[in-house]
């Protein structure tokens, strides 16, 4: 192999790469936040006895989870303008990723809700709480603690999915790495460093989230 490593190119563009990494985190967080709201609503709908809520929720989850994210991104960015719905690229990415995340989070929240014993709700009713009070003070807080590990996994997955933003020229890490690659032909350096940055970032996020989980866990519950 006739390759001479020259990492100078990487150091020169270091801040651009880090900014790209930061942008990826921002995209993931925004998508997680919006997606969590969508997912929570969809989870409640999917468990509803009313078919006009349940069926759209189930269809939403099924469609989004089985369609490639790249196709969803292109539909949003290149297709929807045909209907007059035009979003700038970063917002388009957040929009698509949030809808994508919502479907996965819906499933996470749904199993979390299903796992809560019926007795909790009945105990709340017995002391005279309304349904809304029971959901907000008892059910959802308990459910959130239970699904924290799944949420963590989803967030890390979302962060990796932000790499696809490069396909619509959002200047996150993958886009920058590719740019360096095509401009300088420093193939090994750019891709190895980009991969390493993703791996380290994912590892750090996972460690951080584990700490958060332990902090927020209900005392005495086994992990």
């Amino acid at each position: 192999m006739d390759y001479h490593f020259n990492f100078a190119v990487i150091w020169r563009n270091w801040d651009v790469l880090l900014k790209g990494l930061g942008l990826g985190l921002y995209l993931a967080l925004a998508a997680l936040f919006i997606g969590a709201i969508i997912g929570l609503i969809a989870a409640f709908w999917s468990l509803s006895p009313r078919a006009w809520l349940r069926i759209p929720a189930r269809v939403y989850v099924s469609v989004i989870r089985n369609t490639p994210l790249l196709v969803l991104i292109f539909i949003t960015y290149f297709g929807l303008p045909q209907w007059g719905f035009r979003l700038p690229r970063t917002e388009a990415m957040i929009f698509t990723l949030a809808i994508y995340a919502g479907a996965y989070l819906c499933e996470a929240f749904r199993s979390g809700l299903v796992a809560i014993p019926k007795g909790l709700r009945e105990a709340g009713l017995a002391v005279g709480m309304t349904e809304l009070q029971i959901q907000s003070s008892i059910i959802v807080p308990v459910m959130l603690r239970n699904v924290l590990p799944v949420l963590s996994n989803n967030f890390i997955g979302l962060f990796k999915d932000t790499a696809l933003a490069a396909a619509i020229a959002v200047p996150e890490l993958t886009f920058q790495a590719r740019k360096i690659n095509t401009e300088t032909f420093r193939v090994m350096e750019s891709w190895l460093v980009a991969s390493a940055l993703y791996i380290i970032a994912c590892y750090l996020i996972a460690a951080l989230l584990r700490l958060v989980e332990r902090r927020l866990a209900i005392p005495g519950t086994r992990q």
């Binding site: 192999m1 989870r65 490639p68 791996i199």
Partner: protein
């Protein structure tokens, strides 16, 4: 939305799209098969291997799972090109998908094997089975059953992942669709179309997986 024009253009390009669909399918099937075989080997190393093998296997799964599939595909494609391996984009892309698949299969297998109660191994040993006999008759069947839902999910992720090969120029379904779009400007119609194709494909895989699960579950 121009439906009549869409149908017309669809008919005109159906041959190209069908060939491209074949390319997508071939890549998916090849990478799933390769990835599953490799994944089982790595998974066994993770669960039963000597310390060194276990560390290597863990490094492999952790590294591959920490990198986005998108980056993995491009990295493998460009790096092998620069190293003089001379693979086609299809080969490099399929290899990347296989490596990705293997890391997930390995982790799923490890989890499934470790979830089997210790008593199963002890009961099999008590009737005189050697370790290998225990493994093939008692542990592996249970582990494969346990793994099935996760494996189906991984397979679906790989099928969705074939669309990423379009970025390195593989003439799979998404790229072929984009070519039609650049000719006809029917972006929304054709992107929805390709989305629908993948949805139907993955939905079918999901249903087949559930049916197999149900059949296996009847047997405990």
């Amino acid at each position: 939305m121009n439906w009549s024009l869409f149908i017309e253009e669809l008919g005109k390009s159906q041959e190209n799209l069908l060939i491209a669909f074949g390319v997508s399918s071939l890549s998916a099937i090849a990478s799933i098969i390769l990835g599953t075989i490799l994944g089982i080997i790595v998974g066994l190393a993770l669960t039963y291997g000597h310390v060194i093998n276990r560390i290597l296997a863990r490094l492999y799964t952790d590294i591959i799972r920490g990198v986005p599939l998108f980056v993995l595909i491009m990295a493998i494609f460009y790096i092998q090109a620069a190293s003089g391996f001379g693979m086609t984009a299809f080969q490099a892309g399929t290899l990347a998908l296989a490596i990705f698949c293997a890391s997930h299969v390995a982790e799923n297998l490890r989890g499934a094997l470790q979830a089997i109660p210790k008593g199963q191994m002890e009961a099999a040993q008590s009737v005189g089975l050697t370790f290998l006999q225990c493994f093939f008759s008692v542990l592996l069947p249970q582990a494969l059953r346990q793994m099935l839902p996760a494996w189906v999910n991984t397979a679906i992720e790989i099928v969705k992942g074939t669309t990423l090969l379009s970025v390195i120029g593989v003439a799979e379904l998404l790229l072929a669709t984009q070519r039609v779009i650049s000719r006809t400007y029917l972006s929304l119609e054709f992107y929805l179309f390709v989305g629908l194709v993948f949805y139907i494909l993955n939905f079918t895989i999901e249903q087949i997986g559930r049916a197999v699960e149900r059949r296996l579950a009847r047997h405990g």
